[in-house]
C-alpha cells in the first residue's frame, strides 16, 4: 500500500502545472487583439452587457487581477457563455462530452484488440514473412493522415459496401454503436501502428530473457511462457506508451470528429474557432488539458499496480 503513497503527493506536484495551464489559457485568450468585452460578447453587445462583462471579468483592472478573477471564476465552474449557443460554456462542453468519450474509449479498445494479436504474431514469427509484413504495415501506417484514412474508410465501407453510415452520431444506443465503428477504427489503426512496433520489440526481448529460459528449464511450454510471462512484462511499457500518446489521441479525435461530423468536443472546438467563440475555445482547451493530466496520473497508477518493482 505504501507504494501508492505518491498519490498523496501528486496533487502538490501537479499544482504548478495546473497553474501553468490556467495561466497559458488565460494569456492566450487575452492576447486576442481588440476589446476583450466585445470579443466575449460578439455582435450582441449592448452597452449594459458590455458593462456587465467588464465587471464580471474585471476587464478594467490590472492584468494580474484579471487572472485572479479568472481563477476564481474557474473554481466556481464559471467559464463564461458561448456567444453562439447562448448557453454556459461548461454546460455546452458537458453536452458534447459523450460522443468524444465514446470515440476515445472505442479507439483505445479497438487499438488494443488489433495490437496484441498482431504484435504477438510478429514476435513469435520473428524474421519470417508475417513479421516483415506486420512491420512494414505498421511503419507505413505511421504516415497515414487520419483524416484521409477516415474518408477512405467511408468510401469503402459506407459508400461502396454500405455497411456503415457515412457520418453523424445517431440517437439510440445501438445506432450510436453503429455510427462509431468507422471513426473508432480509423483512430485505432493509427494508434495500433505505434503500439505494435513497441509491443513486438518488448515481447521479443522478454522471450529472450533469462527468466524465460529458466521457465523453459522447468518444462513450461513456450506458449505458456509467452502469454503468462512475456506478455504481462511487455504490457507495462506498452501502457506507458499509450499514456504518453494521449495528447496525440485527443488531437486525432478532434480531426476525426470533423471528418465524420460527430457532435463531440472536437467539432465544438473547430466550430468555435471559426465563429470566434473564444469562451468556448478556452473552455474546451482547458478541459482537454485537465483530461491529459488526469490520464497521465492514471497511467502512473496502472504502472505502479502492474509492476511491483516501480517506486514513484
Amino acid at each position: 500500500m505504501h507504494r501508492y503513497r505518491f498519490l498523496l503527493f501528486r496533487p502538490l506536484q501537479l499544482l504548478p502545472v495546473l497553474f501553468g495551464i490556467s495561466l497559458l489559457t488565460f494569456a492566450m485568450v487575452r492576447s486576442i487583439p481588440g476589446d476583450p468585452a466585445r470579443i466575449l460578447l460578439g455582435v450582441r453587445s449592448t452597452p449594459e452587457a458590455l458593462a456587465r462583462v467588464r465587471a464580471q471579468f474585471g476587464l478594467d483592472e490590472p492584468l494580474w487581477l484579471q487572472y485572479v478573477y479568472f481563477l476564481r471564476n474557474l473554481l466556481h465552474g464559471e467559464l463564461g457563455k458561448s456567444i453562439i449557443y447562448r448557453v454556459d460554456t461548461l454546460k455546452l462542453i458537458f453536452s458534447r462530452m459523450e460522443p468524444t468519450l465514446w470515440l476515445i474509449g472505442g479507439s483505445v479498445l479497438l487499438a488494443l484488440l488489433l495490437t496484441v494479436p498482431l504484435a504477438s504474431i510478429a514476435a513469435r514469427q520473428q524474421g519470417k514473412w508475417a513479421d516483415h509484413l506486420i512491420r512494414l504495415l505498421s511503419t507505413g501506417g505511421l504516415g497515414f493522415p487520419s483524416f484521409w484514412l477516415g474518408i477512405m474508410m467511408i468510401l469503402l465501407f459506407s459508400i461502396t459496401l454500405g455497411w456503415f453510415p457515412v457520418s453523424g452520431y445517431g440517437d439510440t444506443w445501438l445506432e450510436q454503436l453503429h455510427h462509431m465503428v468507422l471513426p473508432c477504427l480509423t483512430v485505432a489503426l493509427a494508434l495500433a501502428a505505434v503500439l505494435i512496433r513497441n509491443l513486438r520489440t518488448s515481447l521479443i526481448t522478454e522471450m529472450a530473457s533469462d527468466y524465460a529460459t529458466a521457465a523453459r528449464a522447468r518444462g513450461q511450454p513456450v506458449s505458456r511462457i509467452f502469454w503468462r510471462h512475456a506478455m504481462p512484462n511487455s504490457l507495462v511499457p506498452t501502457i506507458n506508451l499509450l499514456a504518453v500518446n494521449v495528447g496525440w489521441l485527443i488531437g486525432s479525435t478532434v480531426v476525426i470528429e470533423s471528418v465524420f461530423a460527430i457532435p463531440g468536443m472536437g467539432q465544438l472546438l473547430v466550430k468555435a474557432i471559426f465563429s470566434r467563440d473564444y469562451m468556448v475555445v478556452q473552455g474546451v482547451v482547458l478541459v482537454f488539458a485537465l483530461a491529459t493530466v488526469l490520464v497521465n496520473l492514471l497511467a502512473d497508477l496502472a504502472t505502479v499496480s502492474l509492476d511491483p518493482r516501480v517506486k514513484l
Binding site: S209, D210, Y211, A214, A217, R218, G219, N233
Partner: protein, 330 residues
C-alpha cells in the same frame, strides 16, 4: 545406487563447425553430486544446456552423442516429449537469480505454476506446496514470503527461492550452473550446504558446475574436469583429489591457496584458456602443460582408466600417476 544420467560422446558445434563440446562423457548415479569443473570457455555450461536441449538454436547445435536418463536417450525425443522431461526429471538453477526469476510474479506464484503444470494441483494445494518448499530451502517465515516478489529478497535468499522454484516439479536431477559465484562468501557456504542437504534428504542428484575446485572438494561425490571443450579427467572426488591423473587437474589443485596460511608463492598455470577459433591441435591443454611431448601436439589422447578404480579416467598421453594404464572402453 543406479546410474541416473549417462552422457556419452556428446558434441556441440557452433555455426563455424567448431566443436565447443567435443566427445564428452560422464555419468551420475541417483543421489550423487557431480562437480563439473573448468575455467570459462571449457564447455561445462554448454554441455549442460545441451543436456537439457536448451541451446540457442541459431548459434549452437548438438552434433553427436547420447544422453541417457534412466536408460532413455533424451536427445532422440521430440520437443514435446522433451518438455515433459524438463522440470519434472531434470531441473536447472542459474548463476544470477535476479534475472532468472520473473520480476512481476510472486515467488509463490512461480512455484505454484510448476506444481499445477506437472502435478495438476489446485490453486490452494499449490500454495501449500509452495510454502512447504520455501521452508525446505531454509527461507524464514515462508507463509509470508510466499507473497513476496523476487526483488524483495536479499541475494542469498533469492538464490534459495530459485532453488525452491526449480525443485517444485520434483526433478530427480538438478543442474546447478555456478549457483554461488555471484554471492558473498558467507552466503556461498550456506547455499552449498543447502544443496548437500537436499541431496541427502530428497535424494536428488546434482551436477554442480563451478570453476572453483575448492567448492567441489567440500561438497561433491564425483568430479569431472573439462578443458577447452573436452573432458580431462573424471572420477570419485577422493580418488581424483588424492591422485590426479591429468596435469591440468593437478594444476588446478596447486592453484588453490593453502588454507593454513603461509608465505609460499601463489601457484598459477601459465597461459590462457583457449578460444574456440584457436583450439590447439591434439590435446588442447598441451601449450600450457609442462609434460607435453610431440604426441600431445599431434593427437588427442584417449581416455585411460586407472587400474585402481575403473571409474577414474583421464585423457592424457602421460598421466601423472605413471601407473600401468589401459585404454578405456567407454
Amino acid at each position: 545406487m543406479s546410474t541416473l544420467l549417462q552422457v556419452s560422446h556428446l558434441s556441440v558445434v557452433n555455426r563455424q563447425g567448431i566443436a565447443l563440446v567435443d566427445d564428452v562423457s560422464f555419468s551420475l548415479d541417483s543421489g550423487e553430486m557431480l562437480g563439473l569443473v573448468g575455467e570459462s570457455g571449457s564447455g561445462k555450461t554448454v554441455s549442460c544446456r545441451a543436456l537439457m536441449r536448451l541451446l540457442p538454436p541459431d548459434a549452437l547445435r548438438i552434433a553427436g552423442g547420447e544422453v541417457s536418463l534412466q536408460g532413455q536417450n533424451i536427445l532422440a525425443l521430440t520437443e514435446r516429449q522433451m518438455a515433459k522431461i524438463r522440470g519434472r526429471e531434470i531441473g536447472m538453477i542459474f548463476q544470477n537469480p535476479s534475472s532468472h526469476l520473473n520480476p512481476i510474479m510472486t515467488i509463490g506464484a512461480q512455484i505454484a505454476e510448476s506444481r499445477r503444470l506437472h502435478f495438476g494441483a489446485s490453486a490452494r494445494e499449490a500454495m501449500v506446496d509452495a510454502i512447504e518448499l520455501l521452508r525446505k530451502v531454509g527461507i524464514p517465515d515462508p507463509a509470508q514470503r510466499v507473497k513476496s516478489y523476487p526483488h524483495e529478497f536479499s541475494g542469498g535468499m533469492r538464490q534459495r527461492a530459485m532453488i525452491a522454484v526449480a525443485l517444485a516439479p520434483e526433478p530427480k536431477l538438478l543442474i546447478a550452473d555456478e549457483p554461488t559465484t555471484a554471492l558473498d562468501v558467507t552466503v556461498q557456504l550456506q547455499i552449498l550446504r543447502l544443496l548437500m542437504t537436499l541431496r541427502d534428504t530428497l535424494g536428488v542428484a546434482i551436477v554442480l558446475i563451478t570453476h572453483d575446485l575448492g567448492v567441489v572438494a567440500q561438497t561433491c561425490d564425483r568430479i569431472a574436469v573439462m578443458y577447452g571443450g573436452r573432458l580431462c579427467e573424471t572420477g570419485g572426488k577422493n580418488q581424483v583429489l588424492a591422485g590426479a591423473l591429468h596435469p591440468y587437474t593437478q594444476g588446478l589443485m596447486d592453484c588453490q591457496p593453502a588454507s593454513e596460511g603461509g608465505h609460499s608463492q601463489l601457484v598459477t598455470i601459465d597461459g590462457q584458456p583457449p578460444v574456440a577459433e584457436h583450439f590447439p591441435t591434439g590435446c588442447r591443454f598441451h601449450p600450457r602443460c609442462r609434460y607435453a611431448t610431440q604426441d600431445c601436439q599431434a593427437q588427442q589422447p584417449p581416455m585411460r582408466t586407472s587400474p585402481m578404480d575403473t571409474r577414474h579416467q583421464a585423457a592424457c598421453h602421460h598421466p601423472l600417476a605413471h601407473l600401468h594404464t589401459q585404454e578405456a572402453s567407454c
